[in-house]
């Protein structure tokens, strides 16, 4: 504690220093006082990233538990009948499914929810794929594992726990860091500039991006993303006095730990926000049109951030963005359609924007969700399950494929834990190892990023799923 404390209080006025905002150590623009004065100097001193091998990883959290058994549906006669029989009144009519032609399913036919037109197009053009029946696991699990001592994820079927497991990939613990954070802990030194964390969150505090060294930096979706202090760029008497006074208040030594934490959070937030705000203000405009809804606007802000990557001086970034409302215990058909449509429209724009920015090969987006849902209807919706399907897209993905096994969809099948809760056959670890390796982690880093990976995969050249 004392180490952070003293470092974060030190002033580095006007010095160009390799700092680390993410650590709570923010030397370049220390304190609130000299923001305006340093702005020009900082821009002049910053070296832009010349490596040019940018990689962005966009995590889309579908909070609530996406009923992905209605997102990706088997279309062949016998498999569809099986689906229709278990889903009953919740089945999507066969004729409404959007056809896709996966290249690796031995002729098994599939269709997408009718709301997913952009997704269909991305999939068919080889730039999107699904990971099927994936979920949080500690080790491979079968129906008989339930009877023996095979450990289960903590709080199976509970929203808060399962959503956290996807983000940590350590489902045996409740207080682990996120795998995106651990990934950043290893790769953040790729970034020439550390004023702003490489882990950018459009949805506030999250576990996914929280590492030992690097944690998430939260931005909003309006204006230039970051909120900056009123008058931060003004150097009149009052605003200088105001900033100096805030600095003095925040720089005091506090005996109370919560006060220290508060002061540190404000100082860090202010420093990073100021850098970020000016980078976006000076970044490229995005011509691609995005919807007016909040989720679309958040993805637009991700695009703007990527557009400002050279000004920010970064070559690796992760993004966290949330779309809520997927807990469809009732009104599943209507609500799910709306949500999928919102998702599909926004990622369609985002995909186009990535092409516009010339980074279509350098940005991969992927979904996670609390859990898949139970197969049978509860009358008007579905309840919490376990395994489900995830979507991955971006030109780097070896697309038009389904990765993992596609489960049987009848009650009491070999993967049914009871009541139509499907045991995942692919672990989050395998899915995320693919993303981490693509993003720049080495095979030997994986143990640190995904501590359970060896329970599922013995390292080989292809990666656990062969997705890239």
């Amino acid at each position: 504690m004392s180490k952070h404390h003293h470092l974060s209080r030190r002033k580095f006025l006007g010095r160009v220093t390799m700092g680390c905002a993410a650590l709570g150590v923010t030397p370049l623009y220390s304190g609130i006082t000299n923001m305006g004065l340093l702005n020009a100097a900082a821009a002049a001193n910053r070296t832009s990233n010349t490596k040019g091998d940018y990689k962005g990883l966009v995590c889309i959290m579908l909070s609530g538990g996406n009923d992905s058994f209605n997102m990706l549906v088997p279309k062949g006669e016998s498999e569809y009948n099986e689906y229709q029989s278990i889903r009953g009144n919740l089945a999507i009519p066969q004729s409404e499914l959007l056809s896709i032609n996966p290249q690796n399913t031995n002729g098994m036919e599939f269709g997408l929810h009718p709301s997913l037109q952009n997704t269909q197009q991305m999939f068919e053009s080889g730039n999107a794929a699904f990971v099927t029946n994936v979920g949080a696991l500690l080790e491979p699990f079968t129906r008989s594992s339930y009877q023996d001592d095979t450990p289960l994820p903590i709080g199976l079927f509970s929203h808060s726990d399962q959503r956290r497991h996807w983000q940590t990939c350590v489902p045996q613990n409740v207080d682990s860091l996120g795998w995106g954070g651990r990934l950043a802990d290893i790769l953040y030194t790729n970034n020439a500039n550390q004023d702003v964390s490489m882990n950018i969150s459009l949805d506030g505090v999250n576990v996914f991006q929280r590492g030992n060294i690097i944690k998430e930096f939260a931005i909003g979706y309006q204006d230039n993303g970051s909120v900056i202090l009123n008058g931060a760029e003004e150097n009149d008497f009052y605003n200088q006095l105001k900033r100096q006074t805030l600095d003095n208040l925040l720089d005091q030594e506090y005996h109370n730990i919560l006060k220290t934490a508060y002061a540190n959070t404000i100082t860090d937030s202010n420093n990073s926000s100021f850098s970020f705000n000016s980078a976006i203000a000076n970044g490229m405009e995005i011509a691609t049109e995005f919807g007016a809804d909040v989720f679309s606007q958040k993805l637009l802000m991700v695009a703007k951030t990527i557009a400002a990557r050279d000004i920010l001086g970064v070559s690796n970034q992760t993004f966290f963005i949330e779309l809520s409302g997927w807990d469809t215990h009732d009104e599943l058909l209507d609500d799910h359609s709306l949500l999928l449509s919102q998702l599909d429209t926004a990622i369609g724009s985002f995909n186009e924007a990535m092409a516009e920015l010339g980074v279509a090969n350098d940005v991969v987006s992927f979904t996670m969700s609390d859990f898949g849902r139970k197969l049978p209807s509860n009358g008007d919706g579905t309840d919490h399950g376990w395994g489900g399907h995830s979507l991955v897209f971006g030109n780097a993905v070896s697309g038009q494929k389904l990765y993992g096994e596609f489960p049987d969809l009848f009650l009491d099948n070999d993967l049914d834990l009871g009541g139509g809760r499907i045991i995942p056959t692919t672990s989050c670890d395998e899915y995320f190892a693919e993303l981490a390796l693509w993003f720049g982690a080495s095979h030997s880093d994986l143990d640190q990023i995904l501590p359970n990976i060896n329970n599922f995969w013995t390292p080989n050249a292809d990666g656990p799923l062969g997705m890239f």
Partner: protein, 477 residues
């Protein structure tokens, strides 16, 4: 809905009841973030009334009342939840069964009376319930649906028969849900304590019986007690403090369990909540929540408007920029988790800091700006803004404009100077907890302003702004 919250919070003399109800609203959570509920203002208000009126009643009554309220029924989908249908392969909805256990009563793990985890023989926490327990309890919460039609909006429905499948928009969201016995699962149900609810009972009797079982679980006292301490007093209570509160829950002294008056007394009159010695404890205190920061300011300086209305319409701004607005949590898991720990200082000290989960780069800086704007410009977002474009309502605009009354502070400043001003604000806004160092820093700033020709009102505005930004204000001890 937000209107009535601020009306009550700002005008009501019963400050304690408001605080208690607001705290309960963050445990027994419903949210207007769901658009369909946002349009049901009266229904939400009626839900909040349960918490407001029942705050010092019995927790069992609160549990029963919230379980049967149509807003909760809609929010956690046990409204119109029906028994399983083997022919169609449908099963009862498990949502409410899960959350009433996980969040409203007993939590995921068995607890000691002092709120610490009970451990098994190999040192692992013990789950309080299983998936089968949830499935059994889900059967109990079947058969509930509309209690009455909304005949104010739909007078033509006055004589219509009540229907299990009536649309939510048609029903009166202030009338408790009713049991439709033919949609209720009348089979036997096994409860978490091993007891059995016998087959063929009336559905309402099933619910009463199941709530008795949950209410009597030994976890409830420490579980609810600790969450209320988080809300009202501090983030890191000692186990002994939690135990004292849990014991008050278990028995109010007259062999009554769940007496919330006794629980709130135990929380607020405890030495750990009152004795100054705890100010020495580096782990003391809690972060003031966004809503609290502003209501504290308004209450301290007698906010008023000519029309008497406080129809603040800032809900979306509060949600987007501060991540907290009244009855607008992102989900039943509230605005923040009771287990959240800030990484750099709090977690290494094995503490928690729940409200820090909504303090980050966006909300932290936005708060400073919003506080400044509110104090100096005083444009609290009253209905005024909504009506700006309507000339017919122009008079109302001015009538609704709320102002803080800072006349006493200005007069103290003019007669007795900056130190006296700060001493006064320290007393009425900060419970006397501004440190000498904080006071000196602010005094120096205000003196500099004074020396540069800033007027008395500006000095008072800036005094409030710097105080509201200071760690001594933000961490309530």
């Amino acid at each position: 809905m937000t209107f009535s919250f601020y009306e009550k919070a700002l005008k009501d003399q019963d400050v304690l009841r408001n605080k208690a109800a607001f705290a309960l609203s963050q445990i027994l959570v419903v949210s207007a973030n769901d658009n369909k509920l946002n349009r049901k203002g009266l229904s939400l208000a009626s839900y909040y009334d349960i918490l407001y009126k029942g705050a010092f009643g019995n927790y069992r009554d609160l549990l029963m009342d919230v379980s049967l309220h149509p807003v909760m029924g809609f929010f956690l989908s046990h409204l119109k939840n029906q028994k399983g249908d083997p022919d169609n392969g449908t099963l009862p909805d498990e949502n409410y069964a899960r959350e009433i256990m996980q969040l409203f009563t007993i939590g995921l793990f068995e607890l000691n009376t002092d709120g610490t985890l009970r451990l098994d023989s190999v040192g692992e926490p013990i789950s309080s319930y299983t998936i089968e327990d949830i499935q059994e309890l889900a059967k109990v919460f079947t058969g509930l649906s509309m209690g009455a039609y909304d005949i104010t909006t739909y007078p033509e429905l006055a004589n219509e028969p009540h229907r299990f499948n009536a649309g939510f928009s048609l029903i009166d969201g202030t009338v408790s849900m009713a049991m439709f016995q033919d949609r209720h699962d009348i089979g036997e149900k096994r409860m978490i304590d091993g007891s059995v609810i016998h087959a063929n009972q009336e559905g309402m009797k099933d619910i009463e019986d199941a709530i008795d079982v949950l209410f009597n679980h030994p976890n409830v006292g420490p579980f609810i007690g600790k969450r209320l301490i988080h809300q009202l007093v501090k983030s890191n209570p000692s186990p002994a403090y939690v135990q004292r509160v849990a014991m008050a829950f278990n028995n109010n002294g007259n062999n009554v369990r769940g007496d919330m008056e006794a629980v709130f007394k135990a929380i607020l009159l405890d030495p750990e909540a009152r004795d100054c010695i705890y100010l020495e404890d580096a782990k003391n205190g809690k972060l003031r929540q966004p809503i609290e920061r502003f209501t504290n300011l308004w209450k301290a300086f007698d906010i008023s408007s000519p029309s008497g209305k406080f129809w603040f319409s800032d809900r979306q701004v509060m949600v987007d920029q501060l991540e907290q607005a009244f009855l607008a949590a992102p989900s039943v898991f509230n605005f923040f988790s009771p287990f959240y720990a800030e990484e750099n200082y709090v977690k290494p000290n094995e503490m928690v800091s729940p409200a820090f989960q909504i303090l980050h780069a966006v909300t932290a800086i936005y708060y400073l700006n919003y506080a400044e704007f509110s104090i100096k410009e005083q444009p609290f977002p009253n209905r005024t803004r909504v009506r700006n474009n309507n000339p017919a309502l122009a008079n109302d605009n001015n009538q609704d404009k709320p102002l803080l009354d800072l006349s006493d502070e200005i007069s103290v400043l003019e007669t007795s100077g900056i130190e006296a001003l700060l001493a006064r604000i320290n007393l009425i806004l900060c419970q006397g907890q501004l440190s000498d160092e904080t006071t000196l820093t602010i005094k120096n700033a205000l003196t500099a302003l004074q020396n540069n020709g800033f007027g008395a009102e500006d000095i008072v505005f800036n005094a409030l702004y710097f105080i509201m930004a200071s760690p001594d204000f933000m961490i309530l001890e």
